[in-house]
């Protein structure tokens, strides 16, 4: 508002027509630029949806057909019948939920003391957490492969969950430390301590309950981190019925690389995207502004 008032004052002093022309040109430029950006971000999404509803004949036609003129759910039907997409979804759902639950459980207690208490080594521990969270997974994937193998957990859900905890726990700890620092007033715990709760009592009975929205949100972020993973699951759980959806999609694509199946592959892609969209919507609705700032910092 204030800026606009100033610029109005400026219009009166400066040459009016010249200023308007520049302004109109720059508006046109901005609008064109934004239209281009939206086209760039949105078009692949449209192309996926469109392809998923096309018939095999339409999808292979030359030149490409831009709209699903013979819209059909054939692709979806084949994605879930010819290929075990539902099973892969369930696998991913299970592994990611278990990871999210365990990671947030372990991370919340650590994050709480890191955010609220000063103790020797706290800064060092925080450094380790940030560092581990920062460094790409490929730098530790090989020894972990052998570790999981030695434990006899290759091609088991437990093995993959364990590996996922390796990157989910530092991630969740970082997000939750930010959340605990920013929100949940310390006065409440002090009151609880005075009322005779121990430190743990204050945490478990006072802090945890009021922090639940933030913890759930972090759980969702952690869930999505595992849900989107391809690297680890392609190494640790790549065989048979237990594959995750991302690995399943990749194999689907390389097996069904022929073009007639592209509609069912795109349908499978849509299906794999839906849970992520639902969760993001849920996050957006819910909340927790302090957390979204923290999550970005991660």
């Amino acid at each position: 508002m204030a800026i606009q008032t100033v610029s109005k004052a400026k219009i009166q002093t400066a040459g009016r027509t010249h200023f308007r022309l520049v302004r109109r040109m720059s508006t046109a430029l901005v609008v064109t630029f934004m239209a281009g950006v939206i086209l760039f971000t949105l078009f692949p999404f449209y192309w996926m949806l469109k392809s998923s509803f096309q018939t095999s004949a339409d999808i292979t036609s030359l030149p490409p057909i831009w709209f699903p003129t013979h819209a059909t759910i054939d692709g979806y039907y084949r994605a879930v019948t010819l290929y075990p997409v539902p099973r892969y979804l369930l696998n991913s759902l299970f592994v990611s939920s278990a990871t999210a639950a365990l990671a947030t459980f372990l991370a919340s207690s650590a994050a709480y003391v890191l955010a609220r208490h000063r103790f020797p080594g706290a800064v060092f521990i925080m450094g380790i957490v940030i560092f581990t969270q920062l460094i790409p997974g490929i730098t530790r994937v090989f020894p972990i492969y052998f570790l999981i193998k030695d434990l006899g957990l290759i091609n088991t859900y437990a093995g993959l969950i364990l590996a996922y905890l390796g990157f989910s726990v530092p991630y969740a700890t970082l997000l939750l430390t930010g959340y605990f620092t920013a929100s949940s007033p310390p006065e409440l715990e002090e009151a609880a301590l005075i009322d005779g709760c121990g430190h743990f009592g204050a945490y478990a009975r006072v802090v945890l309950p009021i922090s639940l929205p933030g913890i759930v949100a972090v759980g969702i972020f952690t869930f999505l981190g595992s849900w989107n993973d391809f690297l680890w699951s392609s190494l640790l759980l790549s065989q048979g019925q237990m594959k995750t959806i991302q690995v399943g999609l990749r194999d689907f694509f390389s097996e069904a690389g022929n073009l007639q199946r592209m509609n069912s592959f795109m349908a499978a892609c849509v299906i794999a995207t839906i849970p992520a969209i639902l969760l993001y919507r849920f996050l957006q609705r819910g909340m927790v502004s302090g957390l979204s700032a923290g999550s970005i910092k991660g």
């Binding site: 204030a2 800026i3 100033v6 901005v30 934004m34 939206i38 971000t41 949105l42 692949p44 999404f45 192309w47 996926m48 292979t60 030359l62 490409p64 831009w66 372990l106 991370a107 207690s109 650590a110 208490h117 706290a122 521990i125 925080m126 450094g127 380790i128 957490v129 940030i130 560092f131 920062l134 460094i135 790409p136 490929i138 730098t139 530790r140 994937v141 090989f142 972990i144 492969y145 905890l165 390796g166 990157f167 726990v169 530092p170 743990f200 945490y203 989107n228 391809f230 190494l235 991302q246 999609l249 694509f253 892609c269 794999a272 995207t273 992520a276 969209i277 993001y280 970005i296 910092k297």
Partner: protein
């Protein structure tokens, strides 16, 4: 009392810390160790894993494919990070103004955030299929092209690490990174107080000048963090390159992470894989260490 409180703190931190060390720090060290051994799965039954010093690194440096992958990795970081930061900053700048439909546009621009990397790779492979590519169709329609661009397979034209597949994958990496950059930059822009702009405007600064003399300097701390995070992620990037081209054609899109993965799981050479991934560890570790030190000082 204090001792009791410390005990409480350590007990609370311990489970998470044990996991972070066991599955985060320790494997990084184990990977470094592995790179100094002969760790060839085919030879382990007969020869075990003898110490070979720097031999794996020497093997890598003598391998032109490795040098190519190293150069590509850095070139991808420059092009993709440079591209996504420039584009994201411009969009964030526009979206921080008040105008009708801002919320809707923001949602539309952030949509690629929802899409898992494997799905993103799948969509773009399909959009890059030469004969059926909507991009080629448009270029043909405009009369700009007569033959189809083979986005992911054309190895005819190269300029150093630059090639058509290189740019094709860079576009996808920019596309998938854009929402993060926009959100991050918008949060940074919000932290600049409006009075600063008013003062600049009073002094007669135009919008371009305001951007270069007010926005950019004020945004520098945020941009530094953003570029650090993107550079680290970019150096260790794996999925899009691996799924879209597997590093091809002729290694034009090959990067360190993809190469490490292939050493391990196509050639069973975990020693070379570990050595390759250690290059990533060194590059990202240095940046990461400086970043962590900075972050902790601010706390």
């Amino acid at each position: 009392m204090t001792r009791q409180r410390y005990l409480f703190c350590y007990l609370m931190v311990a489970p998470a810390l044990v996991l972070v060390v066991a599955l985060g720090l320790y494997p990084m060290l184990a990977s470094i160790r592995m790179s100094f051994l002969q760790y060839d799965l085919m030879l382990i039954p007969t020869q075990g894993t003898p110490f070979v010093g720097l031999r794996n690194y020497q093997t890598l440096l003598a391998n032109p494919n490795f040098v190519q992958a190293l150069v590509n990795t850095l070139a991808f970081v420059l092009v993709a990070v440079g591209g996504v930061v420039t584009l994201g900053l411009l969009v964030a700048q526009i979206l921080s103004r008040e105008f009708r439909g801002r919320g809707t546009i923001r949602t539309l621009v952030l949509i690629s955030w929802f899409i898992p990397p494997v799905v993103a790779a799948g969509i773009w492979i399909w959009m890059f299929q030469p004969e059926r590519s909507p991009i080629n169709e448009i270029l043909r329609g405009l009369g700009l092209m007569h033959s189809d661009i083979r986005f992911l397979t054309n190895s005819d034209w190269t300029l150093g690490p630059l090639s058509i597949p290189f740019f094709a994958i860079s576009v996808v990496r920019i596309w998938s990174g854009l929402p993060f950059v926009i959100t991050f930059s918008m949060a940074g822009l919000q932290s600049i107080p409006g009075e600063v702009y008013e003062a600049a405007e009073m002094d007669g600064a135009g919008s371009v000048q305001r951007f270069f003399y007010v926005t950019l300097p004020m945004l520098r701390p945020v941009l530094t963090v953003l570029i650090t995070l993107l550079a680290i992620g970019g150096i260790g990037h794996f999925e899009l390159n691996y799924i879209m081209t597997g590093g091809g054609p002729k290694g034009l899109t090959n990067i360190l992470a993809v190469m490490a993965y292939q050493f391990a799981y196509s050639q069973y050479r975990f020693d070379l894989a570990a050595a390759t991934s250690n290059i990533i560890l060194v590059l990202t570790g240095i940046i990461g260490f400086l970043y962590v030190r900075q972050q902790i000082r601010e706390r």
